[in-house]
C-alpha cells in the first residue's frame, strides 16, 4: 500500500521541525516546549504505526520510496525507503521517543526547551538513518546524530559527563570517517551513492577486505563490540536517563543495522573470510562482558555491560550465516540466525530502555546509582518492583518475554553452525540471569535497607504510563512474535540470497 503523501519524509522531518519549534519557544515557556515535543513525538509514533500497517509483507523491495535529486555533482540522491529490516527499527524509534519525553517531563529543570528539542531532532535523524537508501544521505544522518547526543550527555549528564561525551563523540566519529572513505571509494567505482548499486557492485577480494574493515570500524564501535566498547559504560552512566534510553534502545541498533545493510550484502566474500573475527568478538562480548557485568556496583554500569553482552547476540546471529550454510547446506538456518539478530535488536531496545527507565525512577528519588544504596524496594514500591522484576526477567531471557525469542533463535542457529558456538552463546542464559537477578535481589528484594528506601514513594501516573507501555510491548513481542517475524521474512530471505552469491 502506498500513500499519496511522502510518509517517510514526514517521519524524518516532523520530529526535527517539532524540535526546532520547541527550541524557538525557549525557556520562557518551558511547558509549551514540553507539550510541543510530546505532541510531535506521539504524532510521529502514530505515523509509524501507519507505516507498519501499510507495509507489504510479501516483497523484499523497498517500500514507501521517495527519490529527489539532491547533489547532482556527487550523484547523490535524497532517496528514502524501508524494507523488513529498517521498518521495525523505525517503529521502535518512534515508540521509544514519546516515552523518553514523558519520562523527562518534570525531571529536567535546566534548559528544558533545549533538552526536548535535542531528543526530537535526534529522533528525526535516527529515522533518517534507517530510511536512507543513499549512502551519502545515510552518512549525513549517521554523523549528524552525534551532535544532539553530545549535547544531551554534556549538559544534563552526571559528574563525569564531559569526559564521557567527548569520548563517545571521538570514538564514534573515528569509526565513522573510515566508513566514509570506503563509501567514497565505492562511489568512485560505481558512479553513484545508491546502496543498492553498492550491493551489486563487483569487488575484488582485497578491496572487499579493506571495505569490510572500514565498515567494521564504524559498526563495531556503534554496536559496541569488544574491544572498542569502552565508550559505552561511561556514556550510559553519565547520560541523563532519557539519553541512556535512546543510546541503548536505538543508537546501538544502528551498528547491527549497518552490518545487515552494508557489510554483509556489499562485501559477502570478505564477510565470509572474516566472519570468524566477528563471531569471536561477539562471543567474547557475551561471555567476558557478562562476567564484567556481574561485578558492577553501579546499576547503570551493570545494565550498560549487559547491553554489550546482548548486542553480542546480534552480531553473532548476523555472521553465523556462512558457518551455518557450510555445516548444513540449507538456507533455513541462515535465515533463523538473522531473524534472531533482528528480534534481539527490537527486544533489547525495549528491555534495556525499560531497565534504564527503572533505574531512572530510583535515581530521581534517591539520587544514587549505587546498588548498595538500595535494598528492599519492594516493600515501599511494590508496583515499581513488579515492573522491574518483569524487565529483569526479560533481560535474562525468560520465555514469554521478548528477550527469550531473540536469544533462542540465535542459539538454535548457532547449534547448526557449531556446537561450541552454541555452548558459549548459551552461557548468556546463565550469566544474564546471574547478573540481572542478583541486581534485582539486592535492590528490590529483602528487608528495607536504609531510610532513603523507607521514604520511597511508588510510581506516579507518568512513570506508570511509560513503564506500562514498555511492559506491554515486551510481553506482546515475547508471547506473539509472529507479526514481527512476518514483517522481516521477505527481506531476510533476500539478504540470505545475497550473502550466498560470491562477488569474486
Amino acid at each position: 500500500m502506498q500513500f499519496d503523501w511522502p510518509i517517510l519524509s514526514v517521519l524524518v522531518w516532523l520530529p526535527i521541525a517539532g524540535g526546532v519549534l520547541a527550541l524557538l519557544l525557549g525557556d520562557r515557556a518551558p511547558g509549551a516546549a514540553r507539550w510541543v515535543s510530546l505532541v510531535t513525538s506521539v504524532a510521529t509514533f502514530v505515523l509509524s504505526v501507519l507505516l507498519w500497517n501499510g507495509f507489504d509483507r510479501s516483497t523484499a523491495a523497498m517500500q514507501f520510496a521517495e527519490r529527489i535529486a539532491w547533489i547532482p555533482a556527487f550523484n547523490a540522491w535524497y532517496d528514502l525507503g524501508v524494507d523488513g529490516i529498517s521498518m521495525p527499527l523505525i517503529v521502535l524509534t518512534a515508540f521509544i521517543t514519546p516515552l523518553v519525553v514523558i519520562a523527562g517531563w518534570s525531571v529536567i529543570e535546566r534548559k528544558v526547551s533545549q533538552y526536548f528539542a535535542s531528543f526530537l531532532i535526534l529522533e528525526g535523524l535516527m529515522i533518517g538513518v534507517f530510511a536512507s537508501l543513499d549512502a551519502l544521505l545515510f552518512y549525513v544522518f549517521w554523523e549528524a546524530m552525534l551532535i544532539p547526543m553530545f549535547i544531551i550527555i554534556g549538559i544534563w549528564g552526571g559528574p563525569r559527563r564531559v569526559y564521557a561525551t567527548i569520548k563517545f563523540f571521538l570514538y564514534t566519529f573515528l569509526g565513522s570517517v573510515l566508513m566514509l572513505v570506503a563509501l567514497i571509494y565505492m562511489y568512485l567505482k560505481s558512479g553513484s551513492y545508491d546502496i543498492a548499486a553498492f550491493q551489486g557492485l563487483p569487488l575484488g577480494m582485497r578491496e572487499q577486505v579493506l571495505i569490510f574493515i572500514a565498515f567494521l570500524a564504524a559498526f563495531a564501535v556503534k554496536v559496541p563490540m569488544w574491544p572498542v566498547h569502552t565508550w559505552l559504560p561511561d556514556a550510559h552512566v553519565e547520560a541523563p536517563t532519557g539519553g541512556s534510553v535512546i543510546l541503548a534502545a536505538i543508537m546501538l541498533k544502528m551498528g547491527g543495522y549497518g552490518f545487515l545493510r552494508f557489510s554483509l550484502p556489499i562485501t559477502p566474500d570478505a564477510s565470509q573470510e572474516l566472519a570468524w573475527l566477528v563471531i569471536t568478538l561477539s562471543l567474547i562480548a557475551v561471555v567476558y562482558i557478562g562476567f564484567v557485568a556481574l561485578v558492577q556496583n553501579d546499576m547503570k554500569k551493570l545494565i550498560a555491560y549487559s547491553s554489550i553482552a546482548h548486542m553480542g547476540f546480534v552480531t553473532l546471529g548476523s555472521f553465523l550465516a556462512f558457518d551455518i550454510f557450510a555445516a548444513t547446506g540449507e538456507l533455513r538456518g541462515v535465515a533463523m540466525g538473522i531473524d534472531g539478530a533482528m528480534v534481539q535488536m527490537i527486544s533489547h531496545g525495549l528491555v534495556s530502555g525499560a531497565m534504564f527507565l527503572c533505574v531512572g525512577v530510583l535515581y530521581d528519588r534517591v539520587h544514587s546509582r549505587e546498588i548498595s544504596a538500595y535494598g528492599g524496594v519492594v516493600n515501599t514500591m511494590p508496583v515499581f518492583a513488579s515492573f522491574m522484576v518483569l524487565f529483569a526477567m526479560a533481560n535474562a531471557g525468560l520465555p514469554g518475554t521478548s528477550g527469550f525469542v531473540g536469544e533462542f533463535l540465535v542459539i538454535l542457529a548457532s547449534f547448526r553452525a557449531d556446537f561450541w558456538y552454541a555452548l558459549l552463546a548459551g552461557t548468556t542464559l546463565v550469566l544474564g540471569a546471574a547478573y540481572t537477578l542478583w541486581l534485582v535481589k539486592r535492590v528490590v528484594f529483602g528487608a528495607v535497607a536504609n531510610d532513603n528506601v523507607a521514604a520511597l514513594e511508588d510510581l506516579n501516573a507518568r512513570e506508570f504510563v511509560v513503564l506500562g507501555a514498555l511492559a506491554a510491548a515486551v510481553l506482546i513481542v515475547g508471547i506473539w512474535p509472529a507479526p514481527l517475524l512476518d514483517v522481516m521474512r521477505a527481506t531476510v530471505e533476500q539478504l540470505v540470497q545475497q550473502l550466498m552469491v560470491s562477488k569474486l
Binding site: 552518512y139 554534556g154 561525551t165 571521538l170 566519529f173 570517517v177 567514497i184 571509494y185
Partner: protein, 481 residues
C-alpha cells in the same frame, strides 16, 4: 616600446581593479580632511567601493578566458567568482570589525584603505597571467598585510608579529622571485601561457624547471601557511588585532589559492609529476602538525591559526590530485573554509568588549547561558569546521577526499580523515566550554544589529549550504572545467 594604442576594450576586463585603485586614492585624500567623528564616512565610502567593484565584476563577467595587457591579465569565470567572493568576505570583515575598532581607538581610515589595497593585491593575483603580475599582486597584498598587522601602535605583540611576518614574508617573496627568475631563464617568457607551452616542450624532468619549481613552491607554501613554512601564522594570528586576523584569514587565503591555481595548475600543470610529491609532503605535514599542535593551545586565535594550517593541508590535498575534480574540490574547500573562518573570528569580535580581547578559550565559557542563539551559531561553525554533517565543512572534506581517492592515494585519504578526528577534539572543547560550563561572570553580549544579523546569517549559511550543497558545488564545477 611598440606604438600600440591601448583601446578602451583592452581595459574592460580590468575595470574593477582600476576602479578600486582610483577609489582608494580618492578615499585616502578625502579621509585626510575628515575629522575623527566623521570617520564613518570613510567606512561608508569603502563599502561603496566594494559594491562598485562587485557591480563592475558582475557586469563585465567573462564567460570564457580573456587576456589583456599583453597577456599579463586574465579574466575568466574563475576570476570573477573568486573576486566576487573576496568582495563579499572583505565587506563582511569590515562590518564585523567596526565596533571593535571604535572601542579600541583604531577606527582610522587607513585601516580600511590598507584592507582595500590588500584586496586589490588579491584581485591582481587572481587575474594573473604572468609571473610578474603574480609577484605584483603578492607584494601589494603582503606589504599591506604587514602594515595592517602592526596597526595597533600600542600593542607590543602586534609589533612583534608584524616584524616576524615582514621578515619571513620578505624571505619567502625572495625565494618565490628567485624561482620565477629561474623559470624565466629556462622558458624564456614571463607569461604563464608561454611557460605552460615551454614545459610541454622541455619535458617535466628538466632540471632547471624543477629547480625553479622548488623555490616557487616555497613561496606558495609560505603564503598558504603550509608546514614547514607556517611559523609566521600562529604568531601573526595571535599578535594582530582580531579584525586584522579575520581579514588575513579571508582575503589572503583566496589569494593563495589563486596563486596555486594560476601558477601550479595552469602555468606549471605539465610538471604535475614534479610538484605533486612536494605538495604531498606539505599537505601531510600541515594536516598532522596543524591538528596536533592546536590541541595544546589556550589562546583561541592561536588555536584557530593551527586549525587554519590543518585546513590548508586539506586544500593542498585537492590541489595535489592534479585532476579537474581535485581543483574544483580545492576551490570549494577554500570558499567554504573562508566562510567558516570569517564567522569564527566574527564570534570572537562579537564577544570582545571594552579592554577585553575575548581570545582566550575560557572567554567562551557558558555562552549558552549568556546568549543561546550565538552559542548555537558558534556550535554550527565549530562542527562545520570539524567536518561533521549536516554542515558545509563536511562536503568540503568529501570533495577533497574523493579527489585524492580518485588518483589512488588511499593512504592519504585515511590519514586525512584520521587527523580530522584528532582535530575534532579541539572544536569539541570549545562547544564543551560554551554548553557544559558555567559562565565566568555576567557578561551580556553587546553588539549592534548589523553585526548580529550578519553573524546569524553567516552561521545559518553554514547550515544551509550543508543541507543543500548542490548550488555551490555546481558553481565550483562550472568555473573550473
Amino acid at each position: 616600446m611598440n606604438g600600440e594604442m591601448m583601446t578602451m576594450l583592452d581595459l574592460a576586463p580590468a575595470w574593477a581593479e582600476i576602479f578600486v585603485l582610483a577609489a582608494v586614492c580618492l578615499i585616502l585624500l578625502v579621509d585626510v580632511f575628515l575629522a575623527d567623528r566623521h570617520r564613518w564616512f570613510t567606512y561608508a565610502l569603502c563599502m561603496l567601493t566594494l559594491a562598485g567593484a562587485a557591480f563592475l565584476t558582475a557586469t563585465h563577467g567573462a564567460t570564457e578566458r580573456i587576456t589583456t595587457f599583453h597577456g599579463m591579465f586574465v579574466a575568466d569565470p574563475l576570476a570573477d567568482v573568486l573576486k566576487l567572493f573576496t568582495y563579499a568576505m572583505v565587506a563582511v570583515g569590515f562590518l564585523y570589525s567596526r565596533e571593535y575598532l571604535v572601542r579600541r581607538g583604531l577606527f582610522k581610515g587607513e585601516y580600511y584603505l590598507l584592507g582595500l589595497f590588500a584586496m586589490l593585491g588579491v584581485m591582481v593575483m587572481i587575474s594573473a597571467g604572468s609571473l610578474l603580475t603574480i609577484y605584483l599582486g603578492l607584494e601589494l597584498l603582503s606589504l599591506s598585510s604587514y602594515a595592517l598587522v602592526a596597526f595597533d601602535r600600542e600593542s607590543g605583540v602586534a609589533a612583534e608579529s608584524a616584524m616576524k611576518y615582514f621578515v619571513l614574508g620578505a624571505i619567502a617573496s625572495g625565494a618565490l622571485l628567485y624561482g620565477m627568475s629561474i623559470l624565466y631563464g629556462v622558458t624564456g617568457s614571463l607569461r604563464l601561457d608561454d611557460i605552460a607551452v615551454a614545459v610541454q616542450e622541455l619535458g617535466a624532468g628538466n632540471i632547471g624547471l624543477l629547480f625553479g619549481l622548488a623555490f616557487v613552491i616555497v613561496g606558495v607554501a609560505f603564503k598558504f601557511g603550509a608546514v614547514p613554512f607556517h611559523m609566521w601564522l600562529p604568531d601573526v594570528y595571535h599578535g594582530a588585532p582580531t579584525p586584522v586576523t579575520l581579514f588575513l584569514t579571508a582575503a589572503p587565503k583566496v589569494g593563495a589559492f589563486a596563486l596555486a591555481i594560476r601558477l601550479l595548475a595552469e602555468g606549471l600543470g605539465g610538471m604535475h609529476d614534479g610538484w605533486r610529491d612536494m605538495v604531498i609532503v606539505l599537505s601531510v605535514l600541515s594536516i598532522v602538525v596543524g591538528n596536533l599542535v592546536a590541541i595544546a593551545q589556550t589562546n583561541l586565535k592561536r588555536m584557530l591559526a593551527y586549525s587554519t594550517i590543518s585546513h590548508v593541508g586539506f586544500i593542498l590535498l585537492g590541489i595535489l590530485a592534479g585532476t579537474t575534480a581535485g581543483y574544483q574540490a580545492a576551490l570549494y574547500y577554500t570558499i567554504t573554509y573562508v566562510i567558516m573562518a570569517v564567522g569564527s573570528f566574527g564570534m570572537i569580535l562579537l564577544l570582545s568588549r571594552e579592554g577585553f580581547e575575548a581570545d582566550r578559550l575560557d572567554d567562551f565559557k557558558g555562552l549558552n547561558r549568556r546568549s543561546p542563539w550565538f552559542a548555537a551559531v558558534m556550535l554550527m561553525l565549530m562542527f562545520s569546521t570539524a567536518g561533521v554533517p549536516p554542515f558545509v565543512g563536511f562536503w568540503a572534506k568529501v570533495g577533497v577526499i574523493g579527489a585524492v581517492l580518485d588518483v589512488g592515494y588511499t593512504w592519504l585519504a585515511a590519514l586525512a580523515v584520521f587527523f580530522s578526528v584528532v582535530g575534532a577534539y579541539y572544536y569539541l572543547r570549545l562547544v564543551k566550554l560554551m554548553y557544559f560550563d558555567e559562565p565566568e561572570g555576567e557578561h551580556p553580549v553587546i553588539a549592534g544589529t548589523a553585526m548580529r544579523a550578519t553573524l546569524s546569517v553567516n552561521g545559518l549559511a553554514v547550515l544551509y549550504l550543508g543541507i543543500f550543497p548542490a548550488g555551490l558545488l555546481e558553481l565550483c564545477m562550472r568555473v573550473l572545467p
